[in-house]
Symmetry: C2
Subunit: 346 residues, 2 copies
């Protein structure tokens, strides 16, 4: 069987461009004993991949010539493992390709190893929820929002919880969880259209366009009493601006460094004066540490989706060949919602 | 009665020099009804004063011509308050002068207001403890160490707890508390003599001179398994270096920005990459929030002092006129231990 792939063509010092990637074709591998062959149905495109192609992400570096990594939902098409049958739906990490072999999850594996290893996890899909949600609101981005909000921010009712990238996969979920827990969700996004979407479709109390001059004043006005919780994926100017709006005892959760993913430089952090003045805290968060809570989150999140209390927006990329251009738009901040590549099979 | 004072002479854009201050002489004020006149016995010199004279400290700005503020131990020499008699020992905030009036503490005042207001708090001195300890190990610096260590770092037995300014009033106390709680105390200090003092006199497991090239490698070697807790008063290059040595789940407590106290600039913070990689946390700490724990800390600390398990080093400045030069040395990192000005009366 033919296996179409997208490989990294060259090193990417700045913002990724479509021409930094190349289509390749090979033959689908044969599963060894204890392995399964998984056909990719849906591939998730995520900002961390911009860090991985610069060799800086903890999930591993991607070298030129290698297949791009990525989380996928797929179907077992050949099984040499007793626990899997052909047709089973699995979550795996096939990457940007049509087929990959995977092993069964080892219950002794935890955290990072289990998260990035080539394992196929049986997917017990909820019929009320579209399959692609398991890559977004009910996948790693959603678990980032849920576990991060609870452990790093711990919002109290009435508090202002702000998120960067409010229409992104993590931010849109985090804001709605905060709101469902009784906090006020306030978004930051990079266009008027995204802000309108966050308020009208996702139910944020307010959303501020951080590309407009004076945005920090508008954020302060949107957060009476200051910013109590903030989820940041920028690590740069947006973070610096929000730090200036912190409430006493503000808690910041740092989940990504988008401002550094598109550059070879490592940037300094925000000035620390407000952290003392506001007795504030910043905590680095890695979703791999919290995979044991995925089932818990999926139960809660699926119920909320069924009730209409957790909404999400997807941009569906119709073909693997279009993934590089979509990824370039993602890293330029030009997309809205979760990017899903419909690789095939359905 | 004559009242000698030290006033700020001019704005101080850089590191303070003795000539930025001037001696003045006035007449001791008369206490109004409900007030007491307090004669200063001992004055504490502390790094935060370097921030106050730049107008940046939360205890208030000091303008040219004003008396320098500061914590003091004194004696009531005239009382117009029923709860005080002449001869009573009090902790107050007389500043850099021989006499000041103060009111009785208002039990409704809390936190910052009570901490910086002109109030005289009765001092129940422990006979096993020298009076000056109530400005250092058992005063605000000691409470910073105790409450900060417990709330921001929460050390576990065997963990490596690092402190900047290891021979300073906060750092020396913090390291010994951490050690008494079963952690390993590792110091950072700016000279070989200070490092020797920290190990030999204060009982640190190790101390690294951060002014020598390669100090971060030596710190890493002194902290097998990484830095689990770190108390920082630099906010600059020392912090950046320690961040590179963090253990997984490392906790940093930020109590000062010494690197900015001597400059008009506000500096950026450390790069944030390691905070994600190490799931680390940095928390700003203000001792004024924790004054309700002062009595608790004084009970514990006095017992440790009596048992020889909490040691401290003081440099005694013999006269108020010598305070500016001593303060300049403090802000240049050239002093060791707690600076106490013996203002008079004993």
């Amino acid at each position: 069987v033919k296996n179409r792939q997208v490989i990294l063509r060259n090193a990417v010092p700045g913002r990724p461009r479509p021409e930094d990637f190349a289509l390749a074709e090979t033959t689908a591998p044969e599963p060894a004993d204890g392995e399964v062959l998984v056909q990719t149905l849906y591939l998730s495109l995520d900002p961390y991949m911009g860090s991985a192609i610069k060799g800086r992400h903890m999930s591993g570096a991607v070298a030129p010539g290698e297949v791009m990594p990525g989380e996928t939902i797929g179907r077992v098409v050949r099984s040499r493992h007793a626990a899997y049958r052909e047709g089973d739906l699995v979550a795996s990490r096939n990457g940007w390709q049509e087929y990959a072999v995977a092993s069964a999850p080892d219950p002794l594996q935890h955290g990072l190893a289990a998260a990035v290893a080539r394992v196929a996890t049986p997917l017990a899909a909820d019929p009320r929820v579209p399959l692609t949600a398991y890559l977004g609101a009910l996948g790693s981005p959603g678990l980032t929002a849920y576990a991060g909000l609870l452990t790093c921010i711990d919002p109290k009712p009435g508090e202002n919880v702000v998120t960067s990238a409010a229409t992104g996969a993590v931010g849109s979920t985090l804001g709605q969880i905060a709101r469902n827990m009784g906090a006020r969700a306030v978004g930051l996004a990079g266009s008027a259209a995204k802000c309108a979407h966050a308020v009208q479709h996702l139910g944020f109390a307010a959303c501020v366009n951080y590309k407009e001059p004076g945005w920090t004043e508008r954020l302060a006005a949107a957060c009476p009493g200051g910013v109590h919780g903030y989820s940041d994926n920028s690590g740069g100017a947006v973070l610096e601006g929000v730090v200036g709006c912190l409430a006493m005892g503000g808690r910041i959760m740092l989940i990504g460094l988008m401002d550094q993913y598109n550059t070879s430089e490592r940037l300094p952090g925000p000035g620390l004066g407000p952290f003392i003045g506001k007795r504030a805290r910043i905590t680095g968060f890695v979703v791999y540490d919290h995979r044991h809570r995925l089932a818990e989150w999926r139960r809660i999140g699926a119920q909320w989706i069924a009730e209409g209390r957790l909404r999400f927006h997807e941009e569906r990329i119709p073909d693997l060949a279009a993934a590089p251009a979509a990824f370039a738009r993602l890293m330029a901040g030009e997309t809205m919602g979760k990017l899903i590549v419909a690789v095939g099979g359905e």
